[in-house]
Every structure is written in C-alpha cells, then in structure tokens.
C-alpha cells in the first residue's frame, strides 16, 4: 500500500516542480479525483451560508468546484467564481451541481482581478501545494488582495501534520522528529511530503471474469475504489506534492502576508490609533477564527479599514 512519504523540494525552480508534482497530476487524475470530492466540510459550508445575499466571491484553487453551488439552502443567493490551474478539473467545475458555473483558468499566485472586487474569497486545500514558504505567502496575499478592503472575508484551509485518527493516511513520524530537532528558529515548520494518488488503469480490451475484492480489504490511501478490479493492469500511482502545515504555521503565514501588504493584524481596535487629521485610511485584517478540522488547519479572515 502506498504511503505518504517525506520529500525535499528541489529549490531551483518551484514553478517547474509544481507543474510536475501538482498540476500535471491533477490534470491526469481529474475525473477520478472529482468522483471522491463531493462532500463539503462543515466550517466551509457554514462560512458560505453566512454570506449576505448578493455577495460575489472567488474560490482560489476550486478543483472540481464542489463549493461553487453553496450555500445549498439559498442557491443563487451568492456567486462564487472558481479559479484553478488544472484545466481538466475546471471542465468539471463549470458544471458543478449540474448548473452553469463561472470558472477561470489561472494561477493562485497571479492576480487577474480588479483589486478588492470580491466580497469573499475561499482557498481550500490549495496553498499546501505550493512548494516554498515565499510562494505560500504570496498566495495568502492574493487572497487578501482579491477581497474588498473595507469588508472582505476569507477562509483558507490547508493540510495539517496532525491528522485525524480516521484518516487512512500514514504520516512519517520519524521525519517529523528530525524536523523538530533541526528547527533553528521558533517558527512552526511544516513537512514536505508526497501523497500518492492511485489511479486504476483501464481494463484490458479482452474482458475476463473479474473477482471483486471484499469490502474492507486492502484499501488505497484515498477513499477511491481504485484497484477493486482484480484482473487488470496494475494501478498507476501519482505522487502529489504537499506541504503539511504545523500547528500555528498558517496564522504565522497570514501575519507575514498581512505585514508585507501594510495591513494591521488584529481587530479594528488594535494597534495605535492614528492621529486625527491624517487623511489616508488605515487597513487591517482580523483573524476571526482559526483551528483544526478533519486533518486541516483553517483560518477565517476579515479585512477592515478605519
């Protein structure tokens, strides 16, 4: 059974690295991947349900677009536009929920929008595919720049080193130990890993009698039914690159990203209130909530100005 294994990112060209270990993989596994991604996570569904009718947002790294139809209790009350790097996932996203969706082929490191045009942005299970801390910070900045400076809201999810006990994934704890011992600063450091995706090969042209595996037997690491057909070509394994976040790392990343954009981190009462008479507005971002849900760290943000 393939397992999650530690990896080291070749630092010369992270873009090329991601092209090979993220984008090409998703383009190949798109339909199979999509068939396993349909259940929205509760905090994300609650976030989208809390948006006022008339809100327009962007899903940066939309994948198969599973969040585009939400909120399910008020379909059409808000519009989420999906962006992704994988054209094959986008082809699925544009009919997510069997309704025409708006999707854009783009990169989460780019900014192809009017500044601050959106009421909200979500970036779910995407930023962990970026191969350097700098690139992950830029991706957070793109989220903050996409939303309205006065009221924009955002929700970011990334994979956690701390995995759910129900997770089928096996996390390399030895590398974890090394990482802790070698950490030279007190900053939270995540773990770079390859996570296999097992794709069953198409059955042989000549049909044979096949024996179905009993349920509960050797499962593939993802909730996929790959390999269930016993008499066919061996399944193809794709290694996807992930940066698994350590506790506290996501909020640090947000703080770094905000600082570099000149945003005050905190609620509207934080920091030094500027002297009256100053004409330019002060801009900030508040961490509304952060936490861990089902093997992921999340952070909800709100931008403000005063």
């Amino acid at each position: 059974m393939p397992e999650v294994k530690p990896t080291t990112v070749a630092s010369e060209n992270p873009q090329t690295y991601e092209d090979v270990h993220v984008h090409a993989v998703y383009d190949e596994i798109a339909p199979h991947f999509s068939s396993t991604r349909y259940k929205p996570w509760p905090i994300i569904a609650a976030f989208l349900s809390s948006l006022p009718t008339g809100s327009v947002g962007v899903d940066l790294g939309t994948g198969n677009g599973k969040y585009l139809p939400l909120p399910s209790d008020r379909p059409g009350a808000v519009w989420t536009i999906g962006l992704d790097r994988s054209i094959n996932l986008l082809k699925l996203a544009k009919r997510a929920g069997d309704v025409d969706r708006e999707v854009v082929w783009g990169d989460v490191l780019d900014n192809p929008w009017r500044r601050g045009a959106f009421d909200y942005a979500i970036s779910i299970a995407t930023i962990h595919h970026l191969a350097t801390p700098e690139r992950r910070k830029v991706a957070v900045q793109r989220v903050l720049e996409a939303i309205c400076p006065s009221h924009g809201r955002a929700l970011i999810y990334v994979w956690a080193i701390e995995q759910d006990e129900l997770s089928k994934r096996n996390i390399p704890t030895d590398a974890d130990e090394d990482r802790r011992h070698t950490a030279s600063t007190d900053q939270a450091k995540g773990q770079d890993v390859f996570v296999p995706w097992v794709l069953a090969q198409p059955a042989e042209a000549k049909p044979k009698t096949r024996r179905r595996e009993k349920s509960g037997q050797a499962r593939t690491p993802e909730p996929a039914e790959a390999g269930a057909e016993a008499q066919q070509a061996p399944p193809k394994v794709f290694n996807r690159y992930y940066h698994m976040f350590a506790k506290g790392e996501l909020c640090e990343l947000v703080a770094d990203a905000a600082k570099e954009l000149g945003l005050t981190l905190g609620d509207t009462s934080s920091g030094d209130v500027r002297e009256t008479g100053q004409s330019s507005k002060e801009h900030g971002v508040q961490i509304v909530q952060d936490g861990w849900e089902r093997s992921n760290y999340y952070v909800e943000l709100r931008r403000w100005e005063r």
């Binding site: 873009q15 327009v56 009350a77 808000v78 082809k91």
Partner: protein, 146 residues
C-alpha cells in the same frame, strides 16, 4: 454491424456530453477580471472582447442577488461589454428605481449571455486572453508575470 451501431451511439453520446460541458464567460465574470501582465497596472480594465462567439442560455432569476450585487458592479464596463456583444438594453447610468423590468434586463446581461469562444484583450498593453470552450485563460507566460 453491432460494433458500428455502438460506436455511433458513443459518438452521439460524446458530442452531447461536450455540448453540456461547453461553458461560459459571462459578463458577471468579465466585470471582475483585469489584465495582470507585468507592468500593466493602469487602464487595464475592462478587457475588450474580440471575435466573441456567444450563446444565450436561461439562468435562474434571483432579484435579491441582483440588488445585493449591484453596488459592486463597475457599471460603465458592464454596459460597454454588453453593447460589444450586441445587447444595448442597459441604461448608461444605473437607475434609481430597481424595478422588475430593469432587474430582468440586468439578469440577462450578467448571467445569460455566454461567450464560448474568442478572446479578451487588455485596453492598455493589448495582452490577449483567449477564451476556449467558455473558459478564459488568464495564465501568463513566466516572463509576463508581474
């Protein structure tokens, strides 16, 4: 014979799947996109449609959504883009009264005109963003990234 019938079925099925997948740049998205090529930071909105092949498709009307979204719209850009695509139904200025007749027109312009093929061109740097199967390609080559 049987084989031929099957392959015909498959090709019919396949083309109908493609028809369903044929997608959309609608003016709601066009109103939010801007050129992001390196150094292109002013007069980079709105993108201009070029060789646009359009299709009209019904969408669910939601008056509350439209009322809520209206303040976020760049109005002259929407009116201009609609006219480029052959729809002159919107007034040059946003009306004060948001009656049903106006909201129906707004709904049609924002959500029912689909640009399937063509391109969007930056008014400033002339960068061309192709639209294929209704999906706009906003990716830049490495040397074009700002």
């Amino acid at each position: 014979m049987l084989l031929e019938a099957c392959s015909l079925c498959y090709s019919v099925l396949y083309s109908s799947i493609l028809a369903v997948l044929a997608g959309m740049v609608r003016l709601i998205t066009h109103n939010l996109l801007a050129c992001h090529a390196k150094g292109c930071t002013s007069n980079n909105f709105p993108l201009q449609f070029q060789d646009a092949a359009i299709e009209l498709r019904d969408a669910e009307f939601n008056a509350d959504f439209l009322r809520g979204f209206l303040p976020r719209i760049e109005w002259p850009a929407l009116v201009g883009a609609a006219r480029q695509l052959g729809d002159a139904s919107l007034p040059a200025e946003q009306p004060e009264m948001l009656d049903d007749e106006f909201l129906q027109k707004l709904h049609h312009v924002l959500l029912e005109i689909h640009v399937e093929e063509g391109a969007m061109v930056c008014p400033n740097c002339k960068h061309v963003y192709p639209i294929s199967n209704g999906i706009p390609n906003m990716l830049l080559a490495e040397h074009e990234i700002g």
